[in-house]
């Protein structure tokens, strides 16, 4: 067995002895996959609507019942005074006010489009935006006379039911790998610095590469175990199995895990204390989460920011994972992204090795 073999064995013994961390690492993927997709849900339900009916006509009555029939809306109350509805909006009891003006029915009978006023509480921008969209959608058929409206039929490919969970599950798998492969090796190594054991290693002839690899390889394996747990949980609980081949997912994940732990080791190499290391890690992990297309599309960022993300490992992995998971794209078709990910991973591993100094 080489020095590397002895060092890796040591990492596994330490991992096993640290009951808390080893249990956490095994439970984390399952817990995240069970809970987060249920909570992180962007579909808006239960938008409270107050209707100010100043028309009191047959049409306004039908409008109210249409709103009540909508699945996403909850028509709270029908009042005649706008002031009253506004107070409710201020108090946070309703999200959207629909005002039906006097003479609405008459206007429509004259063949013109009546003006319906919609006020939304935009403190919660998503809810108000989507809420007013829902209101418009449910009222439009009533206000236009059927013949004039061309209603397009939309079909959503790859995620037919537009289930937000399906969109997010690959993202959460990425977050799990990111957390495990960033924080666990970083905390482990910075602890060696703080305890002083790294000095005993630095005074031995072990090479920088061997020592760095001994910190990368174990967490690489542990990352793959976490990935397996997450895929199984997503499949068994939500029925979402990858459309593409498992091999492509694992290949991409292997490279991604290497990139993330290489990055983590590099951060530790330039920081002296736990606080420094954790702070820098959080800073970058936050950037990774926000700027890699995990939660919001990459294309909506300014051009300079998009350029910046070229060096972010998740930026490449997110695209690969979603395409393989939901569309069944093969790795061969994703070759450019995969290559980019491999380049970034190599870069971080080299930085990790080079920034490690045995002699100061």
């Amino acid at each position: 067995m080489s020095a590397l073999g002895f060092l890796i064995k040591k990492e596994f013994i330490q991992f096993r002895r640290n009951r808390f961390v080893s249990r956490l690492v095994f439970l984390l993927p399952i817990i995240v996959m069970l809970i987060v997709p249920l909570v992180a849900n962007m579909d808006v339900k239960g938008v409270n609507v107050a209707v100010v009916d100043m028309d009191r006509s047959g049409l306004s009555g039908r409008m109210v019942s249409h709103l009540e029939a909508s699945k996403q809306l909850r028509a709270r109350l029908v009042v005649t005074d706008y002031r009253q509805a506004y107070d409710l909006l201020e108090a946070g009891k309703v999200d959207v006010i629909v005002t039906i003006p006097e003479g609405c029915e008459q206007t429509q009978m004259l063949g013109r489009m009546p003006e319906i006023k919609i006020d939304a509480n935009a403190v919660n921008a998503t809810k108000s935006g989507l809420g007013s969209q829902y209101v418009i959608a449910s009222l439009t058929p009533l206000l236009t006379d059927g013949s004039a409206v061309l209603s397009p039929s939309v079909r959503y490919f790859y995620n037919e039911t537009l289930d937000y969970r399906f969109y997010m599950i690959p993202a959460f798998i990425i977050i799990i790998i990111m957390l495990i492969c960033c924080f666990i090796p970083a905390l482990n190594l910075v602890l060696e610095k703080e305890k002083g054991t790294i000095e005993q290693i630095n005074v031995t002839p072990v090479s920088r590469m061997e020592f760095t690899l001994s910190k990368l390889i174990p967490y690489w394996i542990i990352g793959m175990v976490a990935l397996t747990e997450a895929i199984l949980t997503a499949g068994l609980v939500y029925g979402l199995w990858p459309e593409g081949s498992l091999a492509s997912i694992y290949w991409a994940a292997l490279v991604f895990a290497l990139a993330m732990s290489g990055f983590a080791i590099a951060v530790v190499n330039i920081s002296d204390t736990m606080q420094q290391c954790i702070f820098v890690m959080f800073f970058f992990v936050m950037l990774f989460m926000l700027m890699s297309g995990l939660l919001t599309p990459l294309d909506s960022m300014p051009q300079w920011a998009q350029w910046l993300t070229v060096a972010f490992p998740p930026r490449w992995f997110v695209g690969i994972m979603r395409a393989v998971y939901l569309k069944g794209t093969t790795l061969a078709e994703l070759a450019p992204d995969f290559l980019a990910l491999a380049v970034v991973a190599t870069f971080f591993c080299i930085v990790a090795i080079v920034t490690y100094r045995k002699q100061k």
């Binding site: 020095a3 060092l7 002895r17 305890k195 002083g196 005993q200 002839p205 100061k360």
Partner: protein
């Protein structure tokens, strides 16, 4: 004469502060060399340069035949080092620590097993081979750290205050181990604040403010300084 350490004008600066100011000395193979000085005199910094943990700012010299400026990594295969801070892995057992460090130095599995058995026997600690190092009392830890530092049969062992905070009986036992190792031909380079220990050394140097103020056998130093014991020598030089 066969010198295992030979250095000229070794200097280390941290910004404007000169921690070690052009020290020159040599250590003969097989001797116990005491490296004394007040706290902050620059002992640890000097020792770290000799071990290839720290780049000298200036100077030249050789440790175990390798250049301290350029061949730090080669030096490391031939030395053992026990730092001021306890630095074995506390969450590994005694045996696991020995196996790890033996393995890092490129020893074969069989050799590691024989050697750790022999070393543990020497400190009558064989019964505790499977104890976690973190559970051992300080005295035992220090003896164990010394054994691990000599695991790969280094030519020279650097000990940085190995007996700090250790009780007098264990201290004596520790020095028995040091002398036994020296008798087998290992050179010992040791720093200490205990003057009774200084008297066990073949030769001692006393560092004051980054410079070596005196270097000779304990007896000669006592004679020169007109002192009854090493304690007096130290106080006279460092005050």
């Amino acid at each position: 004469m066969d010198n295992i350490i030979e250095i000229r004008g070794l200097t280390k600066k941290f910004g404007n502060f000169t921690a070690v100011d052009g020290i020159s000395f040599s250590v003969e193979r097989g001797e116990i060399f005491g490296f004394l000085g007040a706290n902050g005199a620059g002992k640890t910094t000097a020792m770290r340069m000799l071990c290839g943990l720290s780049f000298p700012t200036a100077g030249s010299g050789k440790v175990a035949g390798y250049d301290v400026m350029t061949e730090g990594e080669q030096i490391k295969s031939h030395i053992g080092y026990m730092s001021q801070r306890f630095s074995l892995y506390e969450d590994l057992t005694v045996n696991e620590n020995m196996e790890l460090f033996g393995g890092i130095y490129g020893m074969k599995r069989g050799d590691i097993a024989d050697r750790s058995c022999q070393l543990l026997h020497e400190i009558s600690f064989s019964d505790h081979a499977d104890d976690l190092v973190g559970s051992l009392p300080l005295g035992w830890r220090q003896k164990l750290a010394f054994m691990v530092a000599t695991m790969h049969r280094p030519e020279i062992v650097f000990l940085d205050e190995p007996t700090g905070g250790v009780d007098p009986i264990t201290r004596r036992q520790f020095w028995d181990l040091i002398r036994a190792a020296a008798a087998r031909g290992t050179t010992i380079f040791v720093t200490t604040h205990y003057m009774d220990e200084a008297e066990y050394c073949s030769r001692i140097s006393i560092m004051v403010d980054g410079r070596i103020k005196a270097l000779d056998t304990p007896q000669a130093l006592m004679l020169q300084m007109d002192a009854k014991n090493m304690n007096e020598v130290f106080v006279k030089l460092c005050r």
